[in-house]
């Protein structure tokens, strides 16, 4: 789960990471009132989880009440790279002497947290990593030992931050690591981490990704929402405990097993089609789960044909067939279905489908054949 900037800053504050004080706002009135309280100049910031907010006009400094209203008005409802701004964060404008970059990421290769620090703050760090890799100090932390004070010093000296802020920058890295561990994040990033002319160190932005699998231990985080990211199909799938990802195409896909579904998307694309979703019905799916999944797939108005690709292991093909029949009974779909059933109880499953004689349902015996068929039907 990606947190919005203001959510991330609230998490930071809980762990002692210094952040500018600010307030959350959802309307122009709220934003202007917040700015009045905080004092001017204030910054009005669009709360969408995507890079380039500033360039897109989603971050503006207000010098007085009128400007605060004006900016809030302009930013609320704005579309930034496909995301609609529903929320604002209003904070006191910070004076900036230096901009750094700091992050803690879950390094899968090293199987350890990786802490990074750079004095090239305020820029796209992937770009820095490519053009000037020496500008990023990196350090893996032994997760059994945790972040030690010397780690902070070492990074600060290696990144060559200003000598007078080695200690507070090291302390901020320690706090960011604490956020990473205590909140079970997979990414904690501050860009820019600023030094003010008064030589105070602050997180001016906050990017936090939490581990969905750990949210049960963090009920306060589980409640956080990002309205700009909420997709009706994905929400519906989530409520039904289905693993669903919405895509741009027009061919609905259902399979069992994440790898097989990904592979199905690929094979459909190779056949010239464009998948509308990823949907893993999971191992051992029962008929109801299949019915429910069909509803989710068809709730996307772009879908013009659906492909079922099932290789039954734990999943029984007859259960899948029953679920599909039930779905037709309930929903009466108008788009064609291509069904490939293989593996456990495949004969029974195909038999059930044949007997049900559902309108516009085509069975295929191979994955490749099924993909070609569904692409034709969606064309």
């Amino acid at each position: 789960m990606d947190l919005l900037e203001y959510q991330g800053k609230q998490v930071f504050a809980r762990h002692g990471v210094p952040v500018p004080s600010g307030r959350h706002a959802q309307t122009v009135d709220e934003a202007a009132a917040a700015a009045d309280d905080i004092g001017y100049p204030s910054v009005i910031k669009a709360q969408v989880q995507i890079g380039g907010r500033g360039k897109a006009g989603g971050i503006k400094v207000a010098g007085d009440h009128g400007e605060a209203r004006e900016h809030a008005q302009a930013i609320l409802g704005m579309d930034i790279r496909g995301l609609t701004v529903h929320e604002l964060w209003v904070e006191g404008a910070s004076q900036i002497a230096s901009e750094y970059y700091a992050s803690v990421v879950f390094d899968r290769s090293a199987k350890a947290p990786l802490v990074m620090l750079s004095t090239k703050g305020g820029m796209d760090i992937e770009e820095v990593a490519e053009t000037d890799p020496g500008a990023i100090a990196r350090l893996h932390v032994d997760p059994l030992l945790g972040f030690q004070e010397f780690h902070g010093r070492r990074l600060a000296f290696e990144a060559a931050v200003d000598a007078d802020v080695v200690r507070p920058v090291g302390a901020m890295l320690a706090s960011l690591y604490e956020v990473f561990v205590a909140e079970e994040a997979t990414l904690v990033e501050v860009n820019p981490l600023i030094v003010t002319p008064q030589r105070e160190v602050r997180a001016l932005d906050a990017k936090v990704t939490l581990d969905d699998n750990a949210l049960f231990r963090h009920p306060e985080n589980a409640e956080l929402r990002d309205p700009s990211r909420e997709d009706p199909q994905e929400r519906m799938a989530k409520e039904r405990s289905l693993t669903y990802v919405k895509l741009d195409g027009n061919i609905g896909i259902l399979g069992n097993g994440a790898g097989l579904v990904m592979s199905t998307l690929d094979v459909v694309a190779q056949a010239g089609g464009s998948p509308a979703n990823f949907l893993d019905a999971g191992g051992g799916s029962k008929a109801e789960a299949i019915t429910s999944a069909v509803e989710v797939i068809l709730s996307n108005p772009n879908v013009r044909a659906v492909l079922f690709n099932i290789f039954g292991g734990i999943t029984r093909c007859d259960e899948v067939a029953r679920g599909l029949i039930e779905a037709f009974d309930q929903i009466n779909p108008t788009v064609p279905f291509v069904v490939r059933l293989d593996g456990t109880n495949d004969v029974d499953g195909r038999q059930l489908l044949a007997e049900a004689d559902l309108p516009n349902v085509f069975t295929e015996s191979t994955m490749d054949g099924a993909a070609q068929k569904v692409v034709k039907l969606a064309a």
């Binding site: 879950f106 899968r108 290769s109 199987k111 350890a112 947290p113 992937e126 032994d142 997760p143 059994l144 561990v181 079970e184 997979t186 581990d211 969905d212 699998n213 750990a214 049960f216 231990r217 693993t243 990802v245 895509l247 399979g255 069992n256 097993g257 994440a258 790898g259 097989l260 579904v261 990904m262 592979s263 998307l265 690929d266 094979v267 459909v268 694309a269 190779q270 998948p275 990823f278 893993d280 191992g283 290789f311 039954g312 292991g313 734990i314 999943t315 293989d342 593996g343 456990t344 191979t366 994955m367 490749d368």
Partner: protein
């Protein structure tokens, strides 16, 4: 021969008294695996169709001499169960559970590495099948027979799909290892490919990867550095958009890292044949084996 599990495997199942745990334990036993016990705290002294249940792994190991553990408990308890198995001296831990918190996996992985006693397969994996010898996990054994193809995969069903086509071509498997789809798998492609390289029965290795991380790229380097047996690979997720988790917690393209294209290219640059579809992988494997025969 085979790797990891065989007729010497003595399996203890954590979570044996749960619905899934019972089902698959019995299925593994029916296949011929020595399922010597189960662990469910508070149910020590009971049995599951003749399989004795213990309160702790330590008691199970002391009583049965178990060397292998299968973890079937819910995600919240899984890392604890893995660490308990490790502490009790189990050699091989196969964690089926999906949805374990990433930091739990990180801890479990690093403790196992530090102590250097046990090997962990998974979590979020279908387990290990050595056809004709032992099945530890949920791989449907019916599709596979004994043979000389070693399979290692991040995905379950996709493996069955590929394995099935290979079987239809007339070939069988030494061992099929699901390493799982999580960000911190206990064992990586490299670990398993190294075992297949040493296994006299295995003549060809099929590696089934997917988007996310760089395990495939590292495996490509490893293969180039000394794997003499032919390797055929498949990578799923060419059409996956960045930033979206594709079912497996580990299957995510982060920024520009972990794409299927980069993985396929890394493997091909080291001479590994990469099939474009599961069918093509199976055909490639079959033709290489037929040529060698």
């Amino acid at each position: 021969m085979s790797i990891l599990v065989d007729s010497n495997t003595k399996l203890v199942v954590s979570g044996i008294t749960g619905r899934e745990g019972t089902f698959h334990s019995l299925r593994n036993r029916d296949y011929g695996t020595q399922v010597v016990g189960g662990v469910t705290p508070g149910k020590g002294g009971q049995d599951v169709e003749g399989i004795p249940v213990y309160d702790t792994f330590h008691a199970a190991v002391a009583e049965t001499g178990a060397n292998t553990a299968m973890i079937f408990v819910p995600p919240r308890f899984a890392a604890d169960s893995i660490l308990e198995a490790e502490d009790a001296g189990i050699d091989l831990i196969v964690a089926i559970t999906e949805g374990i918190p990433a930091h739990d996996e990180l801890r479990a992985f690093n403790v196992i590495k530090k102590n250097g006693r046990a090997r962990l397969i998974g979590p979020n994996c279908p387990g290990i099948l050595s056809p004709g010898k032992a099945n530890v996990g949920i791989i449907p054994a019916a599709f596979f027979k004994e043979g000389n193809v070693g399979v290692v995969s991040r995905s379950g069903t996709l493996t069955y799909q590929i394995g099935n086509v290979i079987a239809q071509e007339g070939f069988g498997n030494s061992t099929i290892v699901g390493i799982g789809g999580d960000p911190v798998p206990g064992s990586d492609f490299i670990d398993i490919v190294a075992l297949f390289q040493e296994d006299p029965e295995t003549e060809l290795i099929v590696m089934c990867g997917e988007i996310g991380g760089d395990a495939e790229e590292r495996a490509a380097e490893f293969i180039a550095s000394g794997v003499t047996k032919p390797v055929v690979a498949y990578i799923a997720g060419f059409t996956a958009p960045p930033g979206k988790t594709m079912g497996h917690a580990g299957a995510i393209v982060s920024g520009s890292r972990g794409t299927a294209k980069a993985k396929a290219e890394a493997l091909e640059s080291k001479g590994v044949r990469v099939g474009r579809t599961p069918t093509e992988v199976a055909e490639l494997a079959a033709s290489l084996l037929a040529a060698a025969a």
